[in-house]
């Protein structure tokens, strides 16, 4: 009843967004930016400012000059606000440039050697300077995944447990544990490799994926542990109190209330750890070395990995092998990105999933 009369009464009133930027303003802003960019280019031709960095400086100065001109009629505060906005926007873009530059370089140099077989074949029957349609880095991908999996299986429980100890138990050793974790973060990766070389590789008498995975675990633990601690600190004490008030013991509360609340954060801790070690080369040269074929057995001698594959391909030095190395780098980047996407999916709690589901359902309703 009420809804019917309401729809009748408010007929003809459309929802508006007066705060939204219209298309014409956006077009105007874009064309002005392009014009400024061109002017900045002209400036680099006639002044000592040169190349991309010189152009960036000129571009920034022109923008500031323009914004100062625009706001000259307004007060000092408004002008300062406008100038700072330009400066901070440019700094944000500036921080974005190296990241984009790395990504584009790897993409441009690496795409040539990609063909489906690159992911499934190894280098036993081909040499680094062969055409791009034979051989591949499948063995290196498998080796890297196995070693990172070993490192994750070892460090994720350890990291989360030490995080729980530091934030939930707060035992007498809190200071010592935090101190050790922090100093471990400063261990050079080659030292971690040497440590595993003397404790595992030498006694076993051979290089192995297990040794490589453990060396990576040494480097991964501080990252996972620190991140897990920071994430667990974010859980409000209210929730712990609620758990205790329901008659739960500390461990039960930690595992059933605290951990699920920050599940996605803990998975991110694991991913940060993986991203930290997946490109490590030095410890692997001392523990798993490199090989040309698929090795599925983690204790079956030398194993290839993406970093050592990239390293050896670069060392070979021919045009084709260098391209293969770039492709390896591209695969490495894609793997880390893939892990992040996967982690986001896994990290959603049942409650969050219910929320996104209802949102999706609403969208579908609107469409139909």
């Amino acid at each position: 009843m009420i809804t019917n009369s309401a729809t009748d009464r408010y007929q003809g009133i459309e929802p508006l967004r007066p705060w939204a930027v219209t298309r014409s303003t956006r077009l105007k802003n874009l064309s002005r930016s392009l014009a400024f960019a061109f002017v900045a280019f002209l400036v680099t031709l006639v002044t000592p400012l040169a190349k991309i960095d010189g152009w960036a400086v000129a571009f920034l100065l022109i923008n500031i000059a323009w914004i100062v001109g625009q706001t000259s009629r307004l007060g000092v505060k408004e002008r300062r606000d406008a100038v700072l906005r330009v400066v901070f926007t440019s700094l944000a873009v500036l921080a974005f440039i190296p990241w984009m530059s790395i990504f584009i370089t790897v993409l441009l140099k690496g795409y040539r050697a990609i063909y489906p077989g690159y992911f499934f074949s190894d280098m036993r029957t081909s040499t680094p300077e062969d055409e791009f349609n034979i051989g591949g880095a499948g063995h290196a991908i498998v080796g890297s995944l196995i070693m990172v999996a070993i490192a994750t299986v070892v460090t994720l429980p350890l990291g989360i447990l030490s995080g729980i100890y530091l934030t939930e138990v707060r035992g007498r050793l809190t200071f010592l544990v935090r101190f050790i974790v922090q100093s471990m973060a400063g261990v050079p990766s080659v030292v971690a490799g040497l440590f595993i070389f003397t404790t595992i590789v030498q006694p076993m008498g051979k290089y192995s994926g297990m040794a490589g995975g453990l060396a990576l675990a040494v480097l991964m633990l501080p990252t996972v542990s620190r991140t897990a601690e920071e994430v667990l600190k974010l859980v409000p004490d209210d929730l712990r109190s609620a758990g205790y008030a329901l008659g739960a013991r500390q461990w039960r509360t930690a595992i059933m209330v605290v951990l699920p609340t920050v599940k996605s954060g803990l998975i991110t801790a694991g991913i940060l750890g993986v991203a930290r070690v997946i490109g490590e080369t030095a410890p692997l040269l001392l523990t798993s070395l490199n090989t040309n074929g698929f090795v599925w057995n983690p204790v079956g001698g030398t194993v290839a990995s993406l970093p050592t594959y990239i390293f050896s391909m670069f060392m070979y030095g021919t045009e084709y092998s260098t391209s293969r190395a770039w492709t390896g780098s591209l695969v490495l980047l894609a793997l880390v990105f893939g892990f992040f996407v996967l982690a986001r999916r896994l990290g959603a709690t049942a409650a969050q999933k219910a929320q996104t589901d209802s949102r999706k359902a609403k969208k579908l309703k609107k469409k139909s």
Binding site: D238, Y244, A245, L246, G247, R252, V257, A350, A351, A354
Partner: protein, 275 residues
Amino acid sequence: MTQQNVDSTKTVPQQFDASPDFRGLETRGAHAWFGTHHALADVSLRFPEQTVTGLIGPSGCGKSTFIRLLNRMHEFIPSAAMAGEILLNGSDIYAPSEDPASIRLKVGMVFQKPNPFPAMTIRENVLAGIKLAHLKRDNHDDIVEQCLSRAGLWKEVKDRLGASGGSLSGGQQQRLCIARSLAVEPQVLLMDEPCSALDPGSTLRIEETIKELAEKITVVIVTHNMQQASRVSDFCAFFLTDGGPGYLVEADATRKIFTNPTDSRTADYVQGKFG
């Protein structure tokens, strides 16, 4: 320093049921400290079964500290200390043989700020206590419906039990927290200003809930709202502080506290003359 304060002949309040086989919650000469700060002194009170007791008094007079003593939440503060006896159906909950977790199972608590578990759905929130305390229950669906109904929330959420507990409004979240604490079937429910952040409608619902709960269990509620105290409670206890530790001024039937209190300070407080 613990025992000298405990003089049961002097401290058992006469205005409540004083029979020796008293059932319910009782404190005898309870004190509380935070480090060297003496926060609460010599509180002796009885909370009989199936009654609602309102704790009133100005901020900082130790009401919250007092109810946190009653289910052993006080000891989570690292520098906390206490003295005196707190008896549940005659047995001391601070006896060395008592397990704090099982005490908290019997003496539940609802906090000032709604704190549903954000990672759990509404249904999971209600059942959280059962899982956390390893209780054996088969009829989970019945428990969810029963507890949410008793907390006055069932009608509003029955079609979205799978939604996140955090997606509810503040008042609904608080009622969810009440439902959650009911699911473990406590003998006593402590409520620390449960309505302080709620709108009048939600407050009314929660007050109705409290009255219904009192048909089965003991309820102790801290409140700053005098109307609320007079509406929901059977007994009232008035706390005060003179700069030192908080202490109990008087405790009596609610009607007497509000119409004809023994202490003039109580009269001034309930009539809004200070505090």
